[in-house]
Amino acid sequence: MRVGVFICHCGNNIAGTVDVKAVAEAIRKIPGVAYATTYMYTCSEPGQDEIKQAIKDHNLNRIVVAACSPRMHELTFRKTVEKAGLNRYYFEMANIREHISWIGEDKEANTKKAIDVVKMAVAKVMQDRPLYSSSFRINKRVLVIGGGVAGMQAALDCADGGLEVVLVEKSPSIGGMMSRLDKTFPTIDCSICILGPKMVDVAQHDKIKLYAYSEIDEIKGYVGNYQIKIRKKATYVDWTKCTGCGACMEKCPSRNAYDYFNFGVAPTKAINIPFPQAIPKKAKIDPNYCRHFTKGKCGVCAKICPTKAINYEMQDEIVTEEVGAIIVATGYSLLDLEKLPEYGGGRYPDVISGIQYERLLNASGPTAGHILRPSDHIEPKTIVFVSCAGSRDKSIGIPYCSNFCCMYIAKQAILTKDHIPDSQSYVFYMDIRSPGKGYDEFTRRAQEDYGVKYIRGRVSRIYPKGKKMVVKGVDTLLGSQVEIEADLVVLGTAVLSNPDAAHLAEKLHISYDTFGFYVESHPKLRPVETNTSGVFLAGACQGPKDIPASVGQGSAAASKVLALFSKDMLESDPAVAKVDINKCIGCLKCVRTCPFQAIKDKELRDGRIVADVIETVCAGCGVCTSTCPCGAIQLQHFTDNQLLAEVNALCLA
């Protein structure tokens, strides 16, 4: 055994609080360590060359790098040792930066800890065994979950790249949040005018198979070979027959259905097509309001439908699709007004959310683009916008910034002036966050050219006074109380993850943060990857973001899939469970506990039953290894002996 150990200074990041030379000296004394040195930046090209050279010069056969987190650079160095002719699993990383130098102030204690941690890594590397990947075929189809602008972009880019795409959208039409917007900042161009053509492209692309009003039921498999069960929810309208003529919607007697598309600004019909540009442009019955379902009689739509598309007996249908990669673009949701009782959210009709206001501004919205306040349908003259309505508020568990509210509030204030020239808008803000290209100029225009009054301070209370809403707040710049009698109040409500985000994450085996936003593999360097290989993120499901960022991520995720699919075969991770058939007693407890059904029973020639791992299905969690009483099934690279070597190096030595 000839172990080489490389201890990284990481500039001053490690060497500042760890005596790296002392670590190298202590480690050099370990029997089996043939070489130990320090280097300024081990991950740099010369640093990696140094490792390769040392492997050659000192005939090293195992390598330990003590540096940053293996989550950062394990792969980098595995490739380095492989280039030098070693098996990539003859490598261990000791984390002396994130886990030591950055968190401990006492240099002596840090150095002692670093010696221990490197010693443990040396003990482990001595137990490491070479592992070899096998390769398997990739199914070059991709599933995109979510038909908002990020998902559509991802789907189109993949499809244009020649991949077959399965696009699943939970609502009846693709388009997402962007399809609800009137205009977009900072260009004030019509949202649906730029989105519409993309929606049509999706619909018409022969490589894209669209499942609207559908959800993911079950995901099985692994990168390259997923089996997806998709639930096509019952629409009660046979979409193969429906022409989208709208006759049913016109005649439907149930007029008080909740309008999801318009966020309840006005009611819609129990059978409806959500908006004129909807894709697919098909009708759908809401059984919560349809008289056929609630009262047991009606049938108007069935009678009126020229193609006899209505089918009250329709059931959910499960279809299975096989794909090799998944792009998650499930978007975001918004904080309920009711969660903001101090602002009268939910209680006063003239306190509305930004997205509702967007629908009032929109020409195809319920008011045909006329700004009429909900309570009495009168045009408001004084409008107050409240930003950070919920956002950046630890007290309600939303400490983060919702990213784009500052910008859309500026946009809405500008549009208000365009719609009602004699109106006056006020904006209560905490900070104006406008870091994008042309963004800051845009918010200045609102103030300077459109006379929007920006008040830096928080609103404490909103309450009605006659027909007005009194907005009480503070102007922190002037240090005075402010009270504005408004006709309409628009709240820039906080951006939340989707309520069922966690549920989907569990199916995908990806992680999500405290707020339900999906966690990317690395916040800077792997922003659209997840820690589950084959699953990528795009858009606001990862965190609040505006349209250009979402579109950018859609394309980025698509390019990741295209890169993944540029090969015909994928290499399997060899760090999977392996059965020693001489030891296995065939109790099959591993089969019982494997979360991936990756273990089956197998009969040997002598009739003995043993466990058998399906390598490509095994995800490498090691539950089987800690379940097996006789140690017959061992997760490679994390075997009992490998982990015991670490425990013993620390405890016994």
């Binding site: 029997p31 089996g32 360590v33 043939a34 070489y35 010693k119 003990a123 013993n648 190096a649 016994l652």
Partner: protein, 360 residues
């Protein structure tokens, strides 16, 4: 050697205390009804009225011992060169085993032939053996499963002991067997014991007569090769065997061991630990092949070793002292004496047993 000694009962602890000033003294101690040989302490609850659960073989042939230690070191300028210092662990102390039952003492003679008096003596065994004085204790009664008389011994057998101690009213008669033993009774607590000789002999005879002989025929059991090699015999006789090591580990004549190396970072040691032919690992080969794959093969070896192979090698001497522990403590009461009796050749005449378990 007939300078009989006598130790008054009330002087027992004082005598042991005196011994303990010069030697490490092991005595049978009862704890939670379990009797085992432990280091003598003034408050030890010495138990003489029944045999220890585990014989005192642990003293001379410990359950595990470190044979060697390896210490690794390196020179600063040559990190890829390791120096290994090997050190044998052979510092054995003067030891006394007090109140070994005659069968247990005799067991050591079975070891002696293999580890002491052979062409290649085992220095660890010899080292301990030579420094140990064994004070045998003539059995005051018999225990379930005992069959020493059937294998050529008696409950007052002197072989293997340096002194034989017999309980009489008021104390113990001490009969030195070896020079080593003689030296031990040079003590102010030991009086002249000749007047107790008769009582002691009578007691020994009484107990001897109570020992049951499980064999149908008198004399040394002759095992029939035909039966011994009949697999179906073993399968039927041993179906109940659990293949554990209780019989071997408690046996005063079982001496098999395993050698393993245990590594730490800076040092390592070579261990010797008890092994048992009842364990599958005992004969497991590196290839995965096991020449004794079943418990039947393994028990056959145990019987074979004690009643065929060992006698073949050592002048007909049996490697069984009849202590009965393997029968008494077997979780499923496998009875080796019954197995041997069933195996014995009904056609041939048994040879007479000599007192050392050999043939006349």
């Amino acid at each position: 050697m007939t300078e009989l000694g006598f130790l008054k009962k009330e002087n027992l602890v004082e005598f042991l205390k005196e011994l303990a000033t010069k030697s490490v003294v092991y005595v049978p101690v009862a704890d939670d009804d379990v009797v085992a040989f432990k280091l003598f302490q003034e408050n030890s609850t010495i138990c003489l009225d029944r045999p220890a659960n585990i014989p005192p073989k642990t003293v001379i042939f410990p359950q595990y011992e470190t044979l060697l230690t390896f210490t690794f070191s390196k020179k600063e300028e040559q990190p890829d060169k390791i120096d290994v210092k090997i050190q044998e662990k052979m510092d054995f102390k003067d030891t006394v085993i007090f109140a070994a039952r005659p069968c247990d003492a005799k067991g050591f003679t079975v070891y002696d032939r293999v580890y002491k008096d052979s062409d290649i003596p085992d220095p660890y065994y010899v080292g301990r053996r030579e420094k140990t004085v064994i004070i045998g204790f003539s059995c005051p009664n018999v225990s379930p499963g005992c069959f020493c008389t059937a294998v050529g011994s008696t409950p007052s057998d002197k072989e293997g002991s340096d002194i034989l101690m017999t309980e009489v009213s008021g104390g113990f008669v001490l009969e030195p067997v070896t020079e080593k033993g003689k030296a031990v009774i040079q003590s102010k607590f030991i009086e002249d014991g000749s007047k107790y000789l008769e009582e002691a002999q009578k007691k020994q005879e009484d107990v001897k007569n109570k020992v049951k002989n499980p064999f149908k025929k008198a004399g040394k059991p002759q095992i029939s090769q035909e039966k011994f090699n009949d697999d179906s015999f073993w399968e039927l006789a041993l179906s109940k065997c659990l293949s554990c090591g209780a019989c071997t580990f408690l046996c005063p004549t079982c001496y098999c061991f395993n050698i393993t190396d245990e590594n730490k970072i800076w040092e390592a040691e070579r261990l010797r630990s008890w092994d048992a032919c009842m364990f599958p690992h005992f004969t497991l080969e590196a290839s995965g092949h096991n020449p004794r794959p079943t418990k039947f093969h393994r028990f056959k070896n145990r019987v074979g070793h004690k009643f065929l192979y060992y006698p073949e090698k050592y002048n007909g001497v049996l490697a069984c002292c009849g202590c009965g522990r393997c029968i008494r403590y077997c979780p499923v009461s496998v009875d080796i004496s019954k197995v041997v009796d069933e195996l014995s050749d009904t056609n041939s005449e048994n040879k007479t047993l000599t007192s050392n378990g050999g043939e006349a």
